[in-house]
């Protein structure tokens, strides 16, 4: 009896110690990372910095002309922005919220993604039909990769070895080997694929097809489309919960959000979300979904479980937030 109590206490002490250790690890690595959302405002050439704890816009950084694409490093300290009109990429400081550097890239830089080690930046050029590989430190061009027509959404696999490109006007996903920059596969999807996102396990790629109003689900072992799920009108962006259970799709012309059960591969809900929803991401740990509404100039905060809207946070003019705009988000 007594020994039982002692062992219980030991167990408790161990458990508490373990939890403290986890919390400490999280603080040293990840917590800084996902404190902010960085939203590109195409209408006023700025990036809104949204504090995700206070749920308010706390800073605005001026960038190049008509910013659209965004990528945030895994520690949240470096922010990369594409400006298709001024044809450059900006590097922002994610702590002091100021511009550190910018360089001209191609003729229409749009989609952007970072390698998981944060050393390379991939930039899709909408007009040149290729992807630029940049050094994430000084933004110098390392390589140019020819892909399909009007490349837009980009994703990089968790091991960094594969780059996925939505070739919007070819109705294709290009798969690129990042060791030798060779195109290794092209996968036919729906019409006008734009936003894409990997599930956090890296087993699937979700592709929002703007013109066919559906979502292609690609199995990445076999490179085959395992499902095509009808969603609302003009789907633009896609996001996945960290547990891979739910997929969210912004239906731009319908002002709705499709919620998809990732196991059943079926749409379970369609919610009114605000006008012209575009960029979307699920936070890595707080259970919330962030959605940029282009027409309403706001970032909507949605609970990923209850599907209740928690907050609408004002942004700049015409927010796009096209890419991973919260560190570690999916």
């Amino acid at each position: 009896m007594n020994t039982d109590r002692v062992s219980m206490r030991t167990l408790w002490i161990c458990l508490v110690g373990y939890l403290v250790a986890i919390a400490a690890a999280a603080t040293s690595q990840g917590v800084i990372a996902a404190e902010f959302a960085f939203v590109t405002n195409q209408g006023d050439d700025s990036v809104s910095v949204i504090d995700l704890s206070s749920q308010r816009r706390t800073a605005t950084v001026q960038v190049g002309s008509k910013p659209a694409g965004i990528a945030v490093s895994s520690d949240g300290r470096r922010i990369y922005v594409t400006n298709p009109e001024s044809r450059d990429v900006y590097l922002l400081d994610g702590v002091d919220f100021k511009s550190l550097n910018h360089k001209g890239v191609g003729k229409g830089p749009l989609g952007i993604a970072l390698s998981p080690d944060d050393l390379r930046v991939y930039v899709a050029d909408w007009y040149e039909d290729r992807v630029y590989v940049l050094d994430a430190g000084d933004l110098s061009v390392i390589q140019r990769i020819a892909v399909g027509d009007s490349p837009s959404g980009l994703e990089v696999s968790g091991d960094g070895k594969r780059l996925y490109v939505a070739d919007r006007d070819d109705n294709m996903i290009s798969v690129v080997d990042t060791d030798d920059y060779q195109l290794i596969k092209r996968i036919a999807v729906g019409e006008r694929p734009f936003g894409i996102r990997l599930d956090p396990d890296g087993k699937r790629l979700y592709v929002a097809n703007v013109a066919s109003n559906d979502l292609s689900v690609i199995d990445l072992d076999s490179f085959t489309v395992i499902a095509t799920i009808a969603v609302g009108s003009t789907p633009y962006g896609v996001a996945v919960t960290p547990d891979n259970r739910r997929v969210f799709v912004t239906n731009q012309h319908e002002n709705t959000l499709s919620v998809i059960d990732a196991d059943k591969l079926q749409e379970t809900h369609r919610l009114a979300i605000g006008e012209f929803p575009e960029g979307i991401i699920v936070h890595p740990s707080n259970g919330r979904v962030y959605i940029a509404n282009w027409f309403d100039n706001e970032l909507v905060v949605l609970d990923s479980k209850s599907l209740q809207i928690i907050k609408q946070i004002p942004t700049g003019e015409s927010p796009r937030a096209f890419g991973v705009f919260v560190a570690g988000g999916s």
Partner: protein, 174 residues
């Protein structure tokens, strides 16, 4: 003959891609107009999708499909140009509808990938607030557009359509 068919195919292909290719930055225009008449009175003027004769720039208007989603209308403008539009959403109760341009020559209206909302709400004082808004890209899909196909030209043209239409509507019902 073979050459002609080939040429036709090429042209069709060009046309098909031209519909969806677009410039880098989507534009928006929102025009609001206070009108001293109840929503229903204004709605009665605008509610038939195929009949846009109330707009001063429209000389002929025809269509089929009534007010069902998918209904089409062809507008002939005072400048002789034509616009084909498709109804995407229609809400009798909320006095609103949403439509897209299916095809238009950029010389007629310098826009691509155009979609638009028309909405009437009570303004709380017995009158109405009418909102007409559009989302679209400029007429020139590539970089360095000529001035008449620039972002600004697109915004100016759409603003002109909305402002003149709403002014006429106000004049008709007040």
């Amino acid at each position: 003959m073979k050459k002609n068919v080939l040429l036709l195919c090429c042209l069709m292909l060009l046309f098909a891609t031209a519909i969806h290719a677009h410039g880098p930055t989507r534009q928006k225009v929102v025009i609001k107009q206070q009108i001293a008449a109840p929503p229903q009175t204004i709605w009665n003027v605008v509610k038939n999708f195929h009949d846009m004769s109330w707009h001063p720039a429209v000389t002929n208007t025809e269509g089929d499909g009534g007010n069902s989603v998918g209904a089409m209308r062809t507008l002939t403008l005072t400048n002789g140009g034509q616009i084909v539009e498709k109804l995407e959403k229609y809400d009798e109760e909320k006095h609103s509808f949403f439509y897209r341009i299916e095809s238009v020559d950029v010389k007629v209206l310098p826009v691509t990938n155009y979609s638009s909302w028309f909405n009437i709400k009570p303004n709380g004082e017995g009158g109405s607030l009418v909102t007409w808004k559009g989302a679209f890209y400029r007429g020139y899909p590539n970089n360095d557009p000529p001035p008449e196909l620039s972002d600004q030209a697109a915004k100016d043209a759409v603003t002109g359509v909305y402002e003149s239409g709403l002014a006429k509507l106000k004049e008709m019902v007040e």
